[in-house]
Amino acid sequence: MGADNSTASADATTGDDALLAVDEVVKAFGGLVAVDGASFDVERESITGLIGPNGAGKSTLFNCITGVHGPESGSVRLNGDEIQGLSPTEVARCGVGRTFQTPKTFRGMTVRENLAFAATNQTGERALGPLLQSGTVRSEEHEVQTRVDETLEFLELDHLADDYGSALSGGQRKLLELGRVLMMDPEIILLDEPVAGVNPSLTDDLLRRLEELNDHGRTILFIEHDMDIVMQHCDRVVVMHNGTTLASGAPDIVQNDERVVEAYLGGYA
Amino acid sequence: MGLDTFLQAVVSGLIEGSVIAVGAVGLTLSYGVTRFINFAYGEFLTYGAYLTVFLAGGLFGVSLPLPAAAVVATVVVGALGVAVSRTFFEPISDRGALPLLITSIGVSFILRNLLQGWVGVDARQLPIPLLRRQDYFGLFRLTHLELGVIAASVVTMLTIHLLLQRTMLGKRMRATSGNRSLAKTAGIDTTSVIRQTWFLSAAAGALAGVLYAVLFSPFRPGVGFEYLIVIFAATLLGGIGRPYGAMLGAFCIGLAMNFGSTYLSANYTRAYAFLILVGVLLLKPEGIRGGEF
């Protein structure tokens, strides 16, 4: 796949500073090879877009990175440490936060509870915590709630704080899921189509927030179809097609790569 | 305990497996298209057995010969299955599997206790003569009735096999099981297919009840519910929703129960079925997930 990667101008320079390094990952379901030797890096503090036509294997690759699927082969490294083979829980604890294409909102919990759930290292999450260390639990919970308030404000969901997850629209659920990931305070945020189904005004909001987060030093990798968005907001773009990474690099370079155009439009123009 | 004992355990296992198989196939058929585990299924066994006793025993003013009584009972219980589905399950069919599952527990309470309230808790049995086991090849011993049960079970399996493979109804059922929404897309009236499956499922349950009654009389109104877990075990072992797996699972469970009884302790007969079931669930928590046929 070296040939593929060579087209991506930035690759050579990112190797050292890669926060997430995906190398030759293969995942098959029965006879169907969904991811077929995908390799790319995500630079620290970058916004990277993962694009490609339907069925290219983008979501499957996300699942491989986050431990949902055990890939057949290949490696996934975070900060140089192998995270392939860890369970989703462990991957998350390593600092990888992700959202789903269809948000998995806690529908029977309020927006506030959804967010508070995601805070890490809560003493109150131990069964005996509330009984034996009620002081600690209270003060931690106070802190968590403060962060929840901040997150709500940041996502402009404050007016929905006490609504149930089931009452939210699709776009609001996407936001909420992003909020949950933020509460986790991960090193890298993986977003699966964060704006699909979100109405346009919210979309702009959401993207603005992603950039804001990035400005504060967060690394973001997201799957997106909307080329406009990818071009405007990404530092780097990775293109997947038929389970492999076709190209990666700066948006304008990728955009004009003939093979990308062909993959994307099936030879259009 | 020599070879005799071993062979006898095998034979007993196969006989009981035959009964379980009929029950398990019925359960798995309905799971295949409805996608919930029906805790009321055991009542179909009970109703099948009781109805046969009543029909053969002249309770309704007629005394049918036993085979005829069994056939009538099977058909009537099949119809009961459709009625149960329409009354209790269809109205909430869009609510996911869990409400259906919980409802089925309620339905099993209702059916079982209605029967018990109506006919009492007296033990009943089929009017069949008692037979001594015949020696076969000097290896194992069987009664004609036991042979008959095995035969009936095999015929039932074969019938269900042919039905599923050769008839349009069977194909419709399999299609509905394989992909309900696509089945509708292909123009299948899935609602009616589901009802037909309920009929078959309940009828198979009733037949299993009759076979059970033939072998294991006398019985009381709790019989089906108590045997249900054994049928569950067979169904899950074979992969829920898969009729052929259910047949195989049934024989495994039948053998396990009888080997356990013979060589370990007869007091834990039911437990062997349970433990095998749980063991399989543990080893393959995902693998046995159903299941279309």
Binding site: Q255, Y264, G266 | R174, N179, A183
Partner: protein
Amino acid sequence: MSETESDIETLRRFDDAMFSARGVETGYGDLQVLYGVDIDIQDDEIVLVFGPNGAGKSTLMRALFKQLPLWNGTIEIGGEDCSNLESNQMVTHGVAYVPQTSNVFPNLTVAENLDIGGIHADDVGRRHEMFELFPRLAERQSQAAATLSGGERQMLAMARALMPDPDVLLIDEPSAGLAPQLIEQTFEHVDQIRQAGTAVLMVEQNVTAALDVTDRAYVLDMGENRFEADADTIRNAQRVRDLYLGQ
């Protein structure tokens, strides 16, 4: 996503269309996806629906086939109002549908898949016509559909839908996940289907290849009709390219 070019902004209405949907609105739960979409299909034409992801294309197909309830709007087939049919009844009204995924019965053999498709077929011999159209399926007829390759599945899905000899076939992304050489073949099949007398409405991302066989196309965006035009017009429209590559 601003104003549209004048040559393709018209949304023509075909009053004699044999399949005609007007003002289709639907969605999932509380979430509205389509906001009044119009689609017409005339005899013997191939109509393409495309647009960016999330535009509501697949949702439109499901709505047209009554897999989703219509919140608003009507569907007429041959002048008959079919807005209130169940999806299984659409088949008897001459409409067939090939979903994008899970479009074969994996547990049934190829032949049985076709039998299921033929439930409402008058002509039992039609299975052979399908085998002529898709010789590959004839070779595989006693295999379970689950064992087929992606391309073969797509053929089977189409063949199954064609069994009742529908007047119009709705296909959702026939080329999704197929190898490039198969994509071309797929569109050839679509063309053959039209030649055999079945109009086709397809959703496709592989726009260029699809346009080669298409007569007319609708562009959908954000759950609304954006453009409608003949294939040639679309092919040359810079706007379409922009919509995809975002310049």
